[in-house]
Symmetry: D2
Subunit: 142 residues, 4 copies
C-alpha cells in the first residue's frame, strides 16, 4: 500500500474535483495506506456550544476514506461510497479542529474498505469511529 500521491497532490486533486467542499478539508499527512486529515470548521459545521454536527463528522470520515483510497490507486474521480457504519462515542470538544486518521484495510478490484477514527485535536480518546466501503471504477474509466 505504498502511496502514489503526496498530501499536496491530494489537496490539489480535491480542489479540482470537489470545488464545493475542498476548502473544508486539508490532508495533513500521507503514509503507507494511511492518511491524516482535518475538517477546517466554520459556522456551518457547528451546533450551539461549539460542538460539531453529526453530518460534518460523517462528511470528514467519508472524505478521509476516499482520500486514503486515492493515495494508493491514484486520482480517480468516480469512486462512490456504498456503505458507512459510524459509532458516535464522545461529544467533540468545542472550538477544536476535528482530525481523521484513516487506514485502508482492503484494496480490491471493485471495493476498498477503510477504517477511520475521528479525534478532537489534542485529545487521546476518539470521538467517533467509522468504516466505509467505496466502489471503485474500472481503471480505464478516467
Amino acid at each position: 500500500m505504498t502511496p502514489v500521491m503526496t498530501a499536496e497532490e491530494l489537496n490539489a486533486f480535491m480542489s479540482e474535483v470537489f470545488k464545493q467542499v475542498a476548502d473544508e478539508f486539508n490532508v495533513d499527512h500521507v503514509g503507507a495506506g494511511e492518511v491524516t486529515m482535518r475538517l477546517l470548521t466554520s459556522d456551518k459545521h457547528l451546533r450551539p456550544g461549539g460542538t460539531i454536527s453529526g453530518p460534518s463528522m460523517f462528511g470528514l470520515a467519508d472524505v478521509a476514506a476516499y482520500i486514503v483510497t486515492l493515495s494508493v490507486i491514484g486520482p480517480r474521480a468516480l469512486a462512490v461510497t456504498t456503505n458507512c457504519s459510524i459509532d458516535f462515542m464522545r461529544k467533540p470538544a468545542a472550538n477544536v479542529p476535528l482530525i481523521a486518521k484513516a487506514r485502508l484495510l482492503k484494496l480490491g478490484k471493485q471495493l476498498s474498505v477503510t477504517d477511520v477514527l475521528l479525534f478532537s485535536e489534542g485529545m487521546e480518546e476518539p470521538v467517533a469511529r467509522a468504516s466505509l466501503t467505496y466502489a471503485l471504477p474500472p481503471p480505464h474509466v478516467n
Copy 2:
C-alpha cells in the same frame, strides 16, 4: 407505538431546539411508529449536476430517526445518535426533493432503533437505507 406528537408539533419542536437546521427539514406525516420527512434542498446540500451530497443524506436519515423516536416518547432534547449504518444504493435524482420514510423498530428504556429509507420524490426505488440507534435520556431529565 401510538404517536403522542403531531407533524405540526414536531416541526415546532425542531424550530425551537434545532434553530440552525430546522429550516432544512419538514415533517410531512406521522403514523404509528412511522414518520415521513423531507429535506428542503438548497445549494449547500447539492453537488455538481444537482445530486444530493452524502452528508445531506446522512443528515436527513439522522433527523428522521430522531423525529420518529420523539413522535412516540414526546419532546426530549437530549437524545443522541450512537450508531448509524447507511447503504448508498442509487444516485439521487437531480433537482428533486429527498424524502425519508422512518420506522421505529424498537423503543427501549435506553435505546431506540430506527430503519430509514430515502427516496428521490416520485421514484419507487430507494436511493439509500439507514439504521440508527439513539441513546435516550432518562425520562426525568427534561
Copy 3:
C-alpha cells in the same frame, strides 16, 4: 424483481451447494424481491434457556440475503457477503422457530443490498434487523 426460482428450487439449490448447513434452513415463501425463511433450530443454535445464539441469528440473516438475491438472479454459487450490519433488539423467545423476512433493496451489476427482519414465530415485534451486501460474480462465471 420478478423471482426466477421457486421456494422448492431454492431449497434444492441450498442442499446441493451448502450441504453442511442446508438442513438448518428452509425457504417458506418467495415473492417479488422478497423471501421468508426459517432456521430449523437444534441444540447447536441454542443458549441456556432455549434462546437462540447471536451467530445463529447472523447465519439466518446471511443466508436469507443470499437466497433472496438468488431468487431474482438465478443460481450462482459464488456470491460472497462483503458487509453486514445487525441490530439485536429483543431476546428471541425460547423454543420457538426463528423466521427471516428478507427484502432485496438493490440489485446492481456488482452488488446486492438486502434488508432482513428476524422474528420469533408468532410474535409481532422483530428480534433483530440486518442489512447485508453481497458481491455478485460476473454472470458468465457459473
Copy 4:
C-alpha cells in the same frame, strides 16, 4: 483502561458462564483495553476447502468484544450485544487458526464500543473487521 482480569481469569469465566461455547475460544493475551483471542476451529466452523464460515467469524468477533469489555469492567454475565457491523474482506486461509485482535474504543456507563480485526494466523492482512456495541448491565446487577 487498565485490565482487571488476566487471560486465565477470562478463560475461566468463559468456561463458567458460556459452557456451551467456551471450548471454542481461547484468550491468548490481555493488554490495556486490548485482547487477542483465537477460535479453536473444529469441523462445525468450516466450509468445504477448509475455509471458516461467516457465522464462526461473527461469533469470534462477538466474543472478543465481550471479553475485552470484561477485561476492564470485571466479570458481568449480563452484557448483551446490541449492534455489530462487519466487513468480510478476504477469504480466511484453509486450516489455519482464526485470531481476533479486539480494542475497546469506548467504555461508557451504558455502552461499550469495540473494534475487532480478524486474521488467519501468520498472515499480515486482516480477513475481516468488525465493530460491536454492548449494552452494559448496571454495576449492582451481578
